[in-house]
């Protein structure tokens, strides 16, 4: 905790910075502090945004001023070890790889000198930590992709990528929650809706959660699609065993 800095982000936000790299340890600290802030009774906190390296805290200066708020944060920092963090959960994301759903799967394979089956095996072979959500509602910034399937972005981005598309850009992997232009290498698509305004929980994913991709065939993809449309799909989530 000794590297924590309170950075001014205007007159109504504090950037509580935990480090300057992408690491699961920093992410855990941010998660703990976020829980601590939410549980605390500090008045005037409006909302918090966890990111790769900091927790941005937006507050109401009419209720609490900057210096008083940092004093309150100092107190919280001291008690972070005793904060009970719920064990991280893993959510399964079914993906139909290749074909029309993943037009760049062959690119990724060729770029890395492996087969498309290898790409799928590697991509589905581990849990990915959601470091934060950003860019658009529901877009996960994932960490931990195996470098052996890393592939640079398209030189010319596509004008429209269908929502649900799973892609690779450099060493990152991610999922587009909605239709969007973009330059990612598309390797597959999930029938799940990462974002739906009318749903009780509009955004499916949460920072601090893990994603596990699972390859499905066309038949299962269509079946899940139907369940998602009917609102009958049961999301598969489970506690993650600490490694």
């Amino acid at each position: 905790m000794s590297n924590v800095r309170y950075l001014l982000a205007g007159d109504s936000s504090i950037d509580v910075e935990f480090g300057n790299s992408i690491s699961p340890e920093i992410n855990r600290d941010i998660r703990a502090f976020n829980i601590a802030v939410k549980k605390s009774e500090i008045p005037g906190i409006i909302e918090t945004i966890p990111t790769y390296r900091s927790l941005l805290v937006q507050y109401d200066p009419e209720t609490i001023r900057f210096h008083e708020l940092t004093e309150q944060f100092d107190k919280l920092m001291g008690s972070l070890d005793s904060i009970e963090i719920p064990p991280p959960t893993v959510i399964e994301i079914p993906v139909l790889y290749g074909g029309e759903e993943g037009p760049d799967l062959a690119n990724v394979a060729e770029h890395n000198g492996i087969s498309t089956d290898d790409v799928i095996r590697i991509h589905t072979g581990r849990d990915y930590l959601i470091y934060m959500l950003g860019f658009v509602a529901g877009f996960p910034y994932l960490g931990g992709m195996d470098k052996s399937i890393a592939t640079p972005r398209l030189k010319s981005p596509r004008v429209r990528i269908p929502g649900g598309s799973v892609g690779i850009a450099g060493e990152q992997t991610g999922i587009y929650p909605i239709d969007s232009p973009g330059g990612w290498q598309l390797i597959g698509r999930t029938p799940l809706k990462l974002y739906e305004a009318e749903r009780e929980k509009p955004v499916l994913l949460e920072a601090g959660q893990y994603i596990r991709f699972r390859a499905v065939d066309r038949a299962e993809y269509d079946a899940i699609q139907k369940q998602v449309d009917d609102n009958t799909y049961q999301y598969v989530t489970y506690n993650r065993e600490e490694q």
């Binding site: 205007g10 007159d11 109504s12 945004i49 390296r53 950003g134 877009f139 910034y141 949460e206």
Partner: protein
């Protein structure tokens, strides 16, 4: 029903003070670009400050009312007219079924706000009526208004009580040059001393690349220590991003929640309206202020807005008159003091403060000259008091 959009204008959207509580999911806050103008419009028509309004950009819409209501228009002077006649801004007005509201031409500023008494019949999505244009959610079907759109009023009225009190001072819109106060950080340490000096001592200009997401500025390149990329962190409304090319971009209401460029400073809340009202070509200079000063300025603005609300809704009585400096009146006989206070109270109540009467006042100094019988006194009232009009 409410009103019908005849022509949509350049960019007219339904906005309130933003979608709060979902930034953690990547959902932008959106909301009005100039909160100050929007709040004043709502106060004038008796709404909560956070009630949804129409944000009108550059070229305004033309709207036909199908129901009576009370409205107020604030912000930029876009040539607001009703039934072809120029209509008053910064004042609550009754409009009637059949009236046509339009905006003839942009004169000053960039964005105007129309508030409607009782609010708009727009569904609340994720806690807000604001339009998120990128995610296509909220407001009117997640998009800007177009010809044929119809919007209902939730609780329209033909007239509000104390219409004569529902007046506010028009704000000054940027014309040639503005000073924009900022708090340095959070990545000011990613810039060299020379870079910071350039930022605070150069003149920048708004380019034509400005929209609800941000304003790109033209001017001296700002020097980084080691490039303009960072591992993504959070972005706030008013953050001044400086990517590796060295030219600043001010993040505005539709900004993404997270980003990977260095941010040298953040515009203070009370100066955001200036940025929201600046047209391409307007020049600006940045000035660094302390967090204490910025938060004090925000507090003063909130006091002013509360006073405006009080001046409309609270009954005036002698208790509300507070002297900062009573001058000779302070040592006058008690009955003279009482008479002076009564005279001031009556004048406030009647909104009869003008050079023509017995009372002459200068705003913002708050100095009044009062005549009681044969005597004349000069007094200074507490700021909050003379917010009463």
């Amino acid at each position: 029903m409410g009103m019908k959009i005849m022509t949509g204008g350049f960019l007219t959207t339904v906005q309130d003070l933003g979608r709060i509580g979902y930034q953690e999911t990547g959902m932008a806050v959106s909301g009005v670009m100039d909160q100050h103008s929007a709040k004043i419009a709502n106060i004038l028509v008796g709404n909560d400050c956070g009630e949804a309004v129409l944000e009108v950009t550059m070229m305004g819409p033309s709207i036909q009312f199908s129901e009576d209501n009370v409205i107020a228009v604030t912000g930029a002077d876009l040539g607001f007219a009703i039934n072809k006649q120029p209509a008053a801004m910064y004042r609550a007005l009754s409009v009637h079924a059949g009236d046509i509201l339009e905006f003839k031409a942009l004169k000053t500023g960039l964005r105007a706000y129309i508030a409607f008494a009782g609010g708009l019949d727009i569904p609340v999505v994720m806690g807000s009526r604001s339009t998120n244009l990128k995610s296509k959610v909220g407001g009117f079907q997640g998009r800007k208004l177009e010809a044929g759109d119809e919007i209902g009023f939730r609780a329209p009225v033909r007239v509000l009580d104390h219409m004569e009190r529902r007046v506010a001072e028009a704000e000054v819109m940027p014309t040639k040059e503005i000073e924009v106060r900022v708090i340095m950080g959070p990545q000011d340490d990613c810039f060299t001393e020379k870079g910071k000096e350039t930022f605070l001592n150069s003149e920048y200009a708004f380019t034509s690349e400005l929209d609800r997401m941000g304003c790109r500025l033209e001017g001296e390149v700002i020097e980084h220590v080691d490039g303009g990329d960072i591992i993504s962190d959070g972005i706030t409304f008013g953050a001044v991003q400086v990517p590796s090319h060295g030219k600043p971009i001010i993040m505005m209401a539709d900004h993404q929640t997270t980003g990977g460029y260095t941010k040298i400073a953040c515009v203070i809340t009370v100066d955001l309206p200036k940025v929201a009202q600046a047209k391409p070509g307007v020049k600006l200079r940045f000035k660094a202020v302390s967090i204490e000063e910025a938060q004090e300025l925000l507090h003063e603005e909130n006091v002013r807005l509360a006073s405006l609300r009080d001046s409309i809704e609270k009954e005036k009585n002698e208790e509300t008159i507070r002297f900062k400096d009573a001058g000779a009146l302070g040592s006058a006989a008690p009955e003279v003091q009482a008479a002076a206070k009564a005279a001031l109270t009556a004048a406030f109540r009647e909104n009869a403060l003008s050079p023509a009467g017995d009372y002459i006042y200068w705003v913002p100094a708050g100095t009044f000259r009062i005549r009681v019988g044969e005597e004349e006194f000069t007094v200074e009232l507490e700021k909050e008091t003379f917010g009463l009009r």
